[in-house]
Symmetry: D3
Subunit: 221 residues, 6 copies
Amino acid sequence: MSRRARILVINPNSNEAVTDGLADALEPLAFTDGPEIVCRTLREGPFGIESQKDAESVTLPLARLVAEDPADAFIIACYSDPGLHVCREATPRPVFGIAECGVLTALSRADRFGVIAIKAGSIRRHLRYLRQMGLMERLAGERPLEMSVAETASGEGTLARMIAVGRELRDLDGAEALVMGCAGMARHRKALEDELGIPVIDPTQAAVAMAIGAVQVAQMR
Amino acid sequence: MSRRARILVINPNSNEAVTDGLADALEPLAFTDGPEIVCRTLREGPFGIESQKDAESVTLPLARLVAEDPADAFIIACYSDPGLHVCREATPRPVFGIAECGVLTALSRADRFGVIAIKAGSIRRHLRYLRQMGLMERLAGERPLEMSVAETASGEGTLARMIAVGRELRDLDGAEALVMGCAGMARHRKALEDELGIPVIDPTQAAVAMAIGAVQVAQMR
Amino acid sequence: MSRRARILVINPNSNEAVTDGLADALEPLAFTDGPEIVCRTLREGPFGIESQKDAESVTLPLARLVAEDPADAFIIACYSDPGLHVCREATPRPVFGIAECGVLTALSRADRFGVIAIKAGSIRRHLRYLRQMGLMERLAGERPLEMSVAETASGEGTLARMIAVGRELRDLDGAEALVMGCAGMARHRKALEDELGIPVIDPTQAAVAMAIGAVQVAQMR
Amino acid sequence: MSRRARILVINPNSNEAVTDGLADALEPLAFTDGPEIVCRTLREGPFGIESQKDAESVTLPLARLVAEDPADAFIIACYSDPGLHVCREATPRPVFGIAECGVLTALSRADRFGVIAIKAGSIRRHLRYLRQMGLMERLAGERPLEMSVAETASGEGTLARMIAVGRELRDLDGAEALVMGCAGMARHRKALEDELGIPVIDPTQAAVAMAIGAVQVAQMR
Amino acid sequence: MSRRARILVINPNSNEAVTDGLADALEPLAFTDGPEIVCRTLREGPFGIESQKDAESVTLPLARLVAEDPADAFIIACYSDPGLHVCREATPRPVFGIAECGVLTALSRADRFGVIAIKAGSIRRHLRYLRQMGLMERLAGERPLEMSVAETASGEGTLARMIAVGRELRDLDGAEALVMGCAGMARHRKALEDELGIPVIDPTQAAVAMAIGAVQVAQMR
Amino acid sequence: MSRRARILVINPNSNEAVTDGLADALEPLAFTDGPEIVCRTLREGPFGIESQKDAESVTLPLARLVAEDPADAFIIACYSDPGLHVCREATPRPVFGIAECGVLTALSRADRFGVIAIKAGSIRRHLRYLRQMGLMERLAGERPLEMSVAETASGEGTLARMIAVGRELRDLDGAEALVMGCAGMARHRKALEDELGIPVIDPTQAAVAMAIGAVQVAQMR
């Protein structure tokens, strides 16, 4: 292998704290002789992506970024996968969306999966996207925390609330694995999994693992 | 992280040459400070897994192996995913099937995927399994090489035949990514991808990348 | 018609009481000039089939049995249909699984069906199998008795519990026919149907009726 | 069992030759101590059911017949299943449609099925009905003979044409079992099956076998 | 455009009050230079269409009517769409069913829709029809008013009951648009929509709008 | 009704000739006492929308326009429905996408529909969108003209090519109605329909008819 590959993880909102959180969450996937994993904030992004308008506002900036940046693979680190298709049009290199990768990775671990959403309002958008991906058949359910992104990131009660919602997904809906439906929940992953006894997937970690596979095998002779 | 994790890749047939091929294919995913990737031949396996009976004959030996081996994650490296569910029952640690992971990884790269089978006779089994996984909606098509496993592994004309079949999947069926439907085709992956211009997924590499993700994040505090 | 056909109903567990129960349940389908219906215990089977491992342990013994026995048709009388595909590979004669036949027969009687499972733990396996069969679209729901097989077979309260669960399937889930999700519930079929007012299908009876059709028409000139 | 049950097979067209053919086809399912199988011509039916109007014209006469006749089960012996739901509304006793039973029985024998239609024009109606039944997922394909009903019943070349079409369904579409999409093809069933080497289902025979199961178990104490 | 087109809206029951209600509901779609909209009672129809038998009883009279009447398009104004396919066979001019058009129009306004049925008993028939139409994927749910048609038409409490049921569909089932599952609810449409804040579709109005489109563009040079 | 409603049809590309063509195509839906139909060019749009980037570039301008313009309903007149969801977020008034309305209207006319695309490259995007809409089950097929938008609009051979492609969709794929997959094909609609003998839907006309229904009934007391 000639050179070290680079995976660019793009936080499409402009909240640097989220980007820092991503970097922490991805540390266990940064190998000395593996691809470099770089987390970057999309300068043009809104402070948070909560509406469809927020999502649309980042599609072209993301496409410009992937067209210009020489990374070997890109991750769009927002659970709406904004701009995924326009980015794929903008570069022949692999572009991964964390929602898609999070769900696909849950499917590699168990038969039916549940999703923990932050807000009830986003479930409708997630369902539409799952339908587009053709992945509804193994969905057990999606339930919201009904907390703000800010609360989720910092609040004391977040883990407790996640456990409560996760239990409903597991016991009422039949989920055998969970996807955390937001880029900013990673630090609760382990505790949630330990508590619930079923695999819990952080979607950014999932996407980076898949990206590592893509860039490493691309370098074989 | 306290200790180096270990991923056990099990070749369920007893053909050591296949196991050696797996080890070669997985080298780019073996990182100095990443999980150890060990490829192992299932002693009890038949020389090749071509029939349903061959597949059934390895389910219990595989379950015994995953119950006893202390690895952090297991890969069943046969495109029929034999014994996947009994192995998951036998251990709480993650068990991945390469067919499932190969398809899921193709879905992370493009909208519709095609599968290159070795023989026409296995397509029916693959379709039944895709239906079980609920992943039919994005299947563009599956087409056979109509070569023996032996021919596929060694023969001169294999790559040429794969390219011809891959072109049909891409141009006639609309596949935008391909899965190689056998554990022993990895060494043709790069050439096939370069020739066709769409992502080509080796399912064992795909499964190991997902397993790396699983074991690494499990070790975070 | 030259000779009397024979249908072999195989109880894949080694509990003779279950085999005897099957024989009783099938008596109304044993016609003087119809096919002989023989119920037989799989010697190699575990005492009960409750886990995936139990199911896997009988696949090859079943395949050997159908390859060697000269019966005209075979029924695998366990609601997991263990070994169905390997048995079909082992003989050109018809092999029926009772889960498949039970559901298909329910579909011949009403639009949406419900399933009474013995334990919650098996529902996940049943759903996966229904998805494999492509028969999810008319499933109204599946609910467990949460009794042991032993209790189900002998206990006083079994019928009362079946009626309660059946009412939920009919009234809450919209089931218009029910499948009893176990080979050992046949003697409650009539009482349950009378109580609920919708068709109740014993899957072994359903499979034998279909097998009778298959073997009889095969003998026409 | 107190009395002999009776299954009424209704030919909804007024062509007595078709009714006689049904009787011949059902002879192997008439057991001395089994249910009596009676074939009857619907007096009000058109000479053949080829259009939607023909089908609609028999729904109310069929409903009247099943409401008045004391049979234990009814079979509507036309591959459009005309009047199935209004008949089920008219009687609490089981009413079977041969199209539904034919397809369900094919599903009990193999993974994917094909249908031999008489005319191309009826395929659209059959597909709509398969969609209503939720049974499209295992359809391999449907192909027409493009012969008239009369030709099919009497013509010399019918079997040869059925074999040719059956081969296309098996080899091009992947069908592993075939349903004969008409009530009047039964006498070619055996020859077609022998020639093609995959199960061929006559839908009326299939429906009667399921009806035998229903009426016999209904008589158990 | 040479002449004024005519759309014939057929009330298949013989209750003139329902026909008058249709005429009122369609007034806003009657443009001076648009197609003439004529509402007509099917003389042969039953007083109400509540059973499958009622529905079957009108199919042939409807087909005769559309074959003979010179209208440019036809609407079958009963939420079971009785006779839709036989009417399409009877005339090359467009025939619309209000159930189909109501659902399709809801899909043009929001992602997932709910249906307000009059009685629980009709939900099963509606679901079967939705499955036939291949439109289940975006169904959020269907819930009944459990009122008689008469009550619905005249009763004081109808609107209040519709609002209560509509809230359940919106809040518990996730419906983002509603279809009123009966031809006689139109006068409550506006109030219901205002109260719930999501689009509410009267299926007859929906069908007429689509028919206007069809007949007007047919007249372009 | 207090005032005349207004429907704003937005051509999201900046080609005024296309806007003029839309106005011509919509003339038969402009009634003296019906809603005013205004066609408008999106100033910020690219000259044609052919890539994903083109589509993304108009989403926010469209959202701004619908938020500010006082029209009673909006039509996004591009067969990719760009910005549909962000526009619906930006206004409580109805927003219609012509692709969605074109397909839904085809479904109101026949069982299975085909789509005539301009270029092969857009079929993949259309299929993904159909999957998102949950409307794949009745798709017979989609085939491209393989002409440029310019050629389609002006060229001599366009109609001949559309007829050839339409015949394939009808005869090889089984389409019983066709959707013209572009906003600029309307003037060929009538000739194509006359030639093929099955309904041909211009999606902009379809959307406007649905919009007329929406705005007119909204004005009832």
